[in-house]
Symmetry: C2
Subunit: 125 residues, 2 copies
Amino acid sequence: MFKIDLRSSIPIYEQLVQQVKRSIVQGLLKPGDALPSVRKLAASIEVNPNTVAKAYQELERQGVIITVRGKGTLVNDIPKTVDTDAAEKMRPLITELIYAGKTKEEVTDIAAKIYDEIKEGQNNA
Amino acid sequence: MFKIDLRSSIPIYEQLVQQVKRSIVQGLLKPGDALPSVRKLAASIEVNPNTVAKAYQELERQGVIITVRGKGTLVNDIPKTVDTDAAEKMRPLITELIYAGKTKEEVTDIAAKIYDEIKEGQNNA
DNA sequence: CTAACTGTACTATATATATTAATACACTAA
DNA sequence: TTAGTGTATTAATATATATAGTACAGTTAG
């Protein structure tokens, strides 16, 4: 279900957080859907259950999922407004692109292209 | 010269790397300009000289600056092509923005706005 | 009730990274 | 020669990441 790169410098739990959100954005996971249990997911990607638990706790902290002890983990309703600092985190990356000689149009094209790529995997059921 | 947030989770040396690049992009630092010495900069922002040295070493590794033992550190010529993975790093951030309900136009507008803000501090001498 | 499944908590360990600290070395320029 | 460069080394500390094993608390199906 999720693809983890164990050699990446991005922590495993962080990769999981990103992929769950991406799956929701793409409609592969819908509000009310159950996520795999901590132990099952840990077994399938061959990491420690604690690592998966950490990812789920972070997702719950962000309000993305709801966990119920004894029952499982469900995708939460998508909030109307999300407090995100994603925009601010783009600043050093865009500085990089400018340094690399990209024009304003090229930068926005890159953003648009990535946007489309994310939406590409969308499930239009 | 540089503003460091000691409470940020971003490592000090990484903040320095970003700010040097930003200053170059804005024209505040030009090829051939000298950067403050490791010890002076360390004293002015009140961090260990080794931390500044690490930032300079990273910048040299990226080809942004040239260091000469005994002389100092100079801003390098801006290369024609820069190998950057900044675009790929934008992917999880744009996923965040989509999750937060941003449309494609809003995402590209954010990128454009940040681009302008970076250029705003430019020195058009 | 029992068994099997949920998430959670805790301790211990290992590794890597980040930072400080102090010292020493090699080179350059006044 | 002296004062200023960057660099290297070693040690110590703190934090983040991940594993491992165990145990606890709640839920659900038999």
